[in-house]
Symmetry: C2
Subunit: 336 residues, 2 copies
């Protein structure tokens, strides 16, 4: 392995000077700099990140903590991750996906090892135990999602209020007056701590009331099968419905296939609109009209917010809440 010492020797300078060139931390005359850079390329030098991390007490690694067990890693998550990794790379950081449990145990282990400078937390619960872990260990972190109490917490999230307003507004504009919201499963204890459901549902009730629309909410757990079953209930209990708004991406695919299976023509007889990533929307038939989750934006913003914090820069200016934007597919049309 070629080290800075080798480079320094070859360039006829001290090892410290090499470091200054490498990190641009102190002025170096162009001539010296050139000699050093030449030596580096000649020797094929690559700085050892581990040594650097030990000496500087910064690894420049950011972990994206993903609760692998509680949530499937779907397309939305992939979007977060890819864009976050890209944002990190641009700032000379590494972002790695780290599967952790949701209870905080593995997270404690992870941050205790001083392996990562900070953590981007995904799928944040309204009262997430992992946050206490990070605070206790003084690990810088950023949330994708929000807790209930978030004074001072760096976070980015979907603007569910605006999203739901736009979604309902769009359907209302098409002429729909009989809507159903397919939300999460109330029986699931996680439901009540899962921000997207709680916030969207609240927004929906508010917005629907504003339009003078009856607020019908159907429970449905987050799987395609559950979605199909929800479609059955929907047609049975609320046959007059002309449009469905689905919050979960898997449920939405299920609702689509359930309605198809029951012979409903989408969008002629009934419209379906869902909150999801476009990759997922492409899986359904017909392709879903969606409120496109701002995955790339959130991944990038979350990472940037964290890095600013790590570098002691000024916090990321608002907005921290990004609405999902309407993305037309073929699953919505005026009511029959």
């Amino acid at each position: 392995m070629v080290t800075m010492r080798d480079v320094a020797k070859r360039a006829g300078v001290s090892i410290a000077t090499v470091s200054f060139v490498l990190n641009d931390t102190k002025p170096v005359t162009p001539a010296t700099r050139e000699r050093i850079e030449l030596a580096m390329t000649e020797l094929g030098f690559r700085r050892n990140m581990v040594a650097r991390a030990l000496a500087s007490r910064r690894t420049r690694i950011i972990a994206m903590a993903y609760p692998a067990l509680d949530h499937r890693f779907g397309f939305s998550a992939a979007e977060f991750f890819t864009s976050a990794a890209e944002a990190a790379r641009q700032q000379d950081y590494h972002l790695v996906l780290w599967p952790v449990g949701n209870d905080g145990g593995e997270l404690t282990e992870l941050v205790g090892q001083s392996l990562v400078d900070g953590v981007v937390l995904m799928e944040v619960q309204l009262d997430d135990p992992r946050i206490a872990v990070l605070q206790r260990t003084r690990t810088p972190f950023a949330l994708i999602g929000r807790t209930t109490a978030l004074e001072g917490l760096t976070h980015v999230d979907i603007d569910f209020d605006t999203t739901v307003e736009d979604a309902v507004g769009y359907l209302h504009g098409l002429g729909h007056r009989r809507l159903v919201l397919v939300s999460g499963d109330l029986a699931d204890p996680r439901f009540h701590t899962y921000g997207p459901y709680v916030r969207s549902e609240a927004a929906y009730r508010r917005v629907a009331a504003g339009y003078g629309i009856e607020t019908i909410v159907l429970e449905c757990s987050d799987s395609t099968r559950a979605g199909r079953e929800a479609a059955t209930r929907l047609l049975r209990d609320h046959p007059e419905t002309t449009a469905v708004l689905v919050l979960n991406e898997y449920s939405a695919l299920g609702v689509m296939s359930g309605l198809n299976r029951l012979g409903r023509r989408i969008p002629d007889e009934i419209s379906v609109l869902s909150l999801m990533a476009p990759d997922t929307a492409a899986l359904s038939n017909p392709e879903l009209t969606i409120m496109r989750t701002p995955g790339p934006e959130l991944g990038r913003l979350g990472t940037e917010a964290l890095i600013r914090q790590l570098e002691g820069a000024t916090p990321l200016p608002p907005p921290h809440l990004i609405p999902a934007k309407l993305h037309l597919g073929e699953s919505t049309a005026p009511p029959p």
Copy 2:
């Protein structure tokens, strides 16, 4: 930060002894060991992985290199990753997902920094340039997938021969005689270097010939849309077909929805069988009968093979090729 020095002082031993206890590298009397362990818990000691890595020249981090741009990170990939991470953890390693380009550039950067002990390579191409990078830098690695020439390369992969034999055998056993294989897109230059397509298609031609079945292969790129379009071509050009075997998971979803849309009843009129992960199968309507990709097995095996290599243990014994197993859904039945 609590260091080994603190622990040593408190336990009244030398720092080396603490290290021996921590790593179990030299015998220590139970009494001393206990004092040290007590001191560790009292102080809340967590070993600093960075320092350990520098001193031992081993980071105990394995990167799973994923070509984020060339392949969507779908459910199959998620399966690989989750199981690989689990396997790594059990051996006291960390496995992280590292998005890299497919050309080897980012990979060079990654391994040059001595940040990872080894690499698990996913989505290996038949002549993958990344492999040269790893060999040149003497980075231990394991492949999930196979190159054409793989003497001495640690790898695990799907046993496409057996898988296709079983798949065709199953359909033949149901009575199907008119099959179509939906494979990759020949026009895509990546097709010819992508093992799963090349190997499966070869196996299919062989097996079909064995059964005396006409070998019809339909091209289709890897998206739902392309799959739907393939369904159209299928019905137009080969209306007598009674069963379809689809290699790509997204294509398969498209084929399903395309057939549905064109009014074909699955499985009564036509059977569909695909190679994919069960999570994906659940997205289609009716649920697909699949040859279940052995994602969890491959992720685990690949990681274990790599770790053995890292520890200088005996190589993982065969089998290194795992067949996908039939997983009954509702998309297959005897021909009409």
